[in-house]
């Protein structure tokens, strides 16, 4: 009897400690997002929190923010093409890596994943020097190439995970029924790994849209990108429009995340 009581107290204290730490952590995880949304609805001209009153005026002000809109459009265009490039090249590479045991493929896998761990700032600077030596100027296509390098690892990771769960017997069955390799790919493989590619593409899109270290070097004033424009604004003035733009980004992210969860099972693929 005494033993049982001791264990229950133990369990309680463990749950309490972990529970409190986890609660604090979750609060801190969610707090910034909530604060940004609330601040963007302020009716005053300053960023005081809590806001003295609520109003949509700053979101309305965004409609007049010419330069911010242009920067946003640039970021969207680059993100779109980066995602496309990453999805196509990344899926192809994932197929090759999943089906081979050779050390060369292992090395290739490591190389393709390395941008996730190496400082993106160093890479961005290296890319700038590189194009400068080649006599080129910063431009949208070059930005897309730079972003693709740092975003394709996301597609690679989720697609490889999907491929590893693909039942090889399905492929064998398809081939024994007379389908050629391309048909097998189109009809069997692709639909099954589709959600995996989709999740990776979504992550790549967000990573590109949000990218700062590469854009800092490869984007110049003529190809202004939204995160950098927002950063300039934050550092130089106390404009509440920045909060509204941030709020808009948060809402858009939430919507896209819900879509990705619904169609690609995002949360399942993250762990």
């Amino acid at each position: 009897m005494a033993g049982l009581r001791r264990i229950r107290w133990d369990a309680l204290s463990l749950k309490l400690v972990f529970g409190v730490l986890a609660a604090i952590a979750l609060l801190f995880l969610v707090l910034p997002t909530a604060v940004v949304l609330l601040t963007s609805l302020t009716s005053s001209q300053s960023l005081r929190f809590p806001p003295p009153g609520l109003s949509l005026r700053w979101y309305v002000a965004l409609l007049d923010a010419d330069q911010m809109q242009r920067a946003g459009l640039n970021s969207l265009i680059v993100a779109f093409w980066t995602t496309l490039l990453s999805a196509v090249c990344g899926t192809a590479a994932a197929l090759a890596i999943a089906r081979s045991r050779s050390p060369l493929m292992r090395a290739a896998d490591l190389l393709f994943m390395s941008p996730l761990l190496l400082p993106a700032l160093s890479f961005g600077f290296a890319a700038l020097i590189f194009i400068n030596r080649l006599g080129l100027s910063p431009s949208i296509p070059i930005l897309v190439l730079g972003h693709a390098i740092v975003c394709v690892p996301f597609v690679l990771r989720t697609t490889l995970a999907s491929l590893s769960q693909l039942d090889a017997s399905l492929l064998e069955a398809s081939e024994s029924l007379g389908a050629d390799r391309l048909t097998t790919f189109r009809r069997i493989t692709l639909p099954l790994i589709g959600p995996g590619i989709g999740a990776g593409a979504f992550l790549a899109f967000m990573a590109s849209f949000d990218n700062v270290p590469v854009s800092l070097f490869l984007a110049d004033e003529r190809t202004e990108m939204l995160p950098i424009h927002l950063w300039q604004q934050i550092e130089t003035n106390l404009d509440v429009r920045t909060a509204a733009a941030s709020g808009a980004i948060v809402i858009a992210t939430l919507i896209l995340m819900l879509l990705a969860e619904r169609f690609a099972g995002l949360t399942r693929r993250m762990h």
Partner: protein, 277 residues
């Protein structure tokens, strides 16, 4: 099969042309005196290692990573623990909340922290309001503030790998331990923690690498006075136009990160072997 392996070529070509080549050029530039690359010299590296101001920036950055990673671990492990024990639907919700920050723009997140940490910000209002202090806390533009924000911003990178390992943990082991009379804490320290070590290491690698290269957070929260390696590289490259020196700094930075990641990765692999026995 041959045909399949050829599928790797497009990405391999992209990486060779736009990842490997620029890094090679970066290395070459760091070994020259000026952008025209006329004469070979180790001058940039000598300048870095002989100047206490320069390498203290690197050390500060490495230390910053350690602090942020430890805070992340302290708070991130319980979150992963909670997620692993949650039912399927709650787990989805919790994971959603965990990855929401990492998908929101880093500029947006850091900006909201400026609002929270300021002298009149939310945190100080709560602290003063609850009577926890007389003076408002000075968090903005201090290293404490940077560590706090980094820990929050990178926490998903710590939580997800640990969650992966915890969810695959065999519950029988825990049960066996309890049946044998061990308390919950003992079970945790003797069974759960060691077995989750690979996840912890993986989380630490990702968090550490991300923290020390977190340019936006370090600069927006730290201000221009707390100089870490990323800002240093940027100032030398764009502000001072000193490309060769900036290139040397970049190479040193990259090699340092690779060493740390390599060491942590090796520890991680060894802990995996231990975990299986």
């Amino acid at each position: 099969m041959e045909a399949d392996s050829r599928l790797v070529l497009p990405l391999a070509a992209l990486f060779t042309a736009f990842f490997v080549a620029p890094l090679v050029v970066l290395l070459l530039l760091s070994l020259h005196g000026d952008i025209a690359m006329q004469g070979w010299t180790l001058g940039n590296y000598v300048k870095f290692f002989s100047d206490p101001f320069s390498y203290s920036i690197l050390l500060d950055t490495l230390l910053l990573g350690v602090k942020a990673t430890l805070v992340c671990l302290l708070f991130g492990y319980p979150v992963a623990w909670l997620c692993a024990r949650a039912g399927a639907r709650w787990q989805s919700v919790l994971v959603f909340l965990v990855i929401l920050p990492i998908l929101t723009s880093v500029v947006v997140r850091t900006f909201s922290w400026i609002v929270i940490l300021g002298r009149q910000g939310l945190l100080n209002q709560v602290v003063m309001g609850l009577g926890l202090g007389n003076e408002p806390l000075r968090l903005l533009y201090t290293e404490v503030g940077v560590v706090m924000v980094l820990a929050q911003v990178q926490m998903p990178l710590m939580v997800l790998p640990i969650l992966t390992v915890l969810s695959k943990l065999d519950p029988n082991l825990g049960d066996a331990s309890r049946v044998l009379g061990a308390g919950e804490w003992r079970t945790f320290f003797r069974i759960t923690l060691p077995l989750s070590l690979p996840g912890i290491i993986a989380g630490c690698i990702l968090t550490y690498a991300a923290s020390i290269t977190a340019f936006v957070t370090q600069t927006l929260i730290g201000g221009a006075r707390l100089i870490y390696m990323p800002l240093n590289i940027y100032q030398q490259a764009v502000g001072a136009n000193n490309w060769p020196f900036a290139a040397a700094l970049s190479i040193i930075f990259m090699i340092t990160v690779m060493i740390v990641v390599g060491v942590l990765g090796a520890i991680g692999r060894r802990s995996e072997i231990h975990g299986r026995t």
